[in-house]
């Protein structure tokens, strides 16, 4: 049994918010740099150059990579042998507010989605998974809404087949067009239920993008590349930095597919206590 104090969780979450929003993920930066080298279209190359320069300025001056510091999505891996003293969820929310305040990030969260009203730092999506062991894993993914708005989900017939699914994924990227800050990272969730497929699509965005690809991911990357959207939507070679797929058992009657679009500034940071 390991005891972790709520205060420690708050501090860790605050640090993760700062890191995620100001320091671009290494795997994303590597991919952007290799895309920059490969790009021949001069406008696209310039756009990629600006994205890389932006990441440098953000890191060195502790500025947010993007003014849209997103809706914070927190993924928790709670070891079953951990005991938390204090209020866990409050500790996480407090950490978010603290981190966002310290970073001078934007207050982008409103309490009532219909009446809207004043925005603040109050709120996050928290996913908790209970795992073996005595460690607490925390990941913060600040999700900007320019790209979240372009995400889609569809309940296919079980007889639909892979080509229809591929078409839906490619079309979701196509309809994002230039609007959601390409080059994109595309997270896909296949299987589970309507809500779970959406969750899986988000989880897919946590995977390192330069790890080994499945043949389906490779095929889709090629298809998406043919769309020719390019950085900033101005044409060029790189429309998608990576596509990552998570799948899960589902029902004989269905085939849920969710696509979560991320802008080029895919941000997340993790810590283990």
């Amino acid at each position: 049994m390991k005891i972790i104090k709520a205060e420690k969780i708050t501090k860790t979450v605050a640090d993760l918010c700062l890191k995620a929003n100001c320091v671009l993920r290494k795997d994303i930066l590597r991919k952007l740099k290799s895309a920059y080298k490969q790009e021949k279209n001069s406008r696209a190359k310039k756009a990629l150059g600006a994205i890389i320069e932006n990441a440098r300025i953000a890191r060195e001056e502790k500025l947010a990579i993007c003014q849209d510091t997103g809706l914070p999505i927190v993924f928790v891996k709670l070891g079953q042998d951990v005991r938390i003293t204090g209020d866990f969820k409050k500790a996480v929310l407090k950490g978010i507010a603290l981190g966002y305040q310290r970073g001078n990030f934007r207050e982008s969260i409103i309490q009532d989605p219909l009446k809207r009203g004043k925005s603040s730092y109050k709120g996050a999506i928290i996913h908790i998974d209970i795992v073996r062991g005595n460690k607490l894993g925390l990941t913060v993914l600040p999700k900007g809404f320019g790209c979240e708005n372009k995400s889609q989900m569809k309940m296919f017939n079980p007889t639909a087949g892979i080509e229809e699914v591929k078409k839906f994924i490619v079309n979701t990227v196509k309809s994002s067009g230039a609007d959601a800050c390409p080059p994109y990272v595309v997270g896909v969730g296949i299987g589970g239920s309507a809500d779970y497929a959406g969750f899986l699509a988000k989880v897919a965005l946590l995977k390192k993008i330069d790890t080994k690809r499945s043949s389906l991911e490779r095929d889709l990357e090629k298809e998406i590349g043919k769309l020719g959207i390019g950085p900033m939507g101005l044409g060029g070679k790189v429309t998608c930095l990576a596509i990552k797929i998570e799948s899960y058992p589902t029902h004989i009657a269905g085939l849920p597919v969710a696509v979560n679009i991320s802008c080029h500034a895919l941000r997340s940071a993790s810590a283990t206590l």
């Binding site: 300025i57 953000a58 500025l63 947010a64």
Partner: protein
Amino acid sequence: MKKINTPLSENDILNLRAGDEILLSGEIYTARDQAHRRVVDAIKKGSRLPFALKNAVIYYCGPAKTPKGKIIGSCGPTTSSRMDAFTPLLLSKGLKGMIGKGARSKEVRSAIKKNKAIYLLAPAGCGALISKYVKSAKPIAYQDLGPERITKLEVKDFPLIVGIDAKGRSIYA
């Protein structure tokens, strides 16, 4: 690269073509979703507007907070198409330029053509970089909207690409 100053002259606008790269200097106003709704309401009611629309340039942006010692925080463009429903009315009242990211509706494109205006693209997802082109920032209206308030910015050599020109030609088409 052409250097252009605000307020935009008709001559400047007519000489630009979709795809041209420019460096913009001068005053621009941030306004996004809720500010657009309020400005449009004010026009319909005939009440006073927070700034003169005639020849003005709007930047679709909700900046991050300003860190100590800085002029402004991260301040990149937001998705322009969310403002499409409000834009034709603003153009008919004299708005000359818009800065944002992404494509616009057919209606906006024809309103741009009709009113000889221009739509400009800012480096999308580069808010930290863009903060370097801002020389002053002063919130002027709708303070209760927080990051969506209207802020008057003075920019210097802000690098932009013409997205839709005064003839209605689009870089995306």
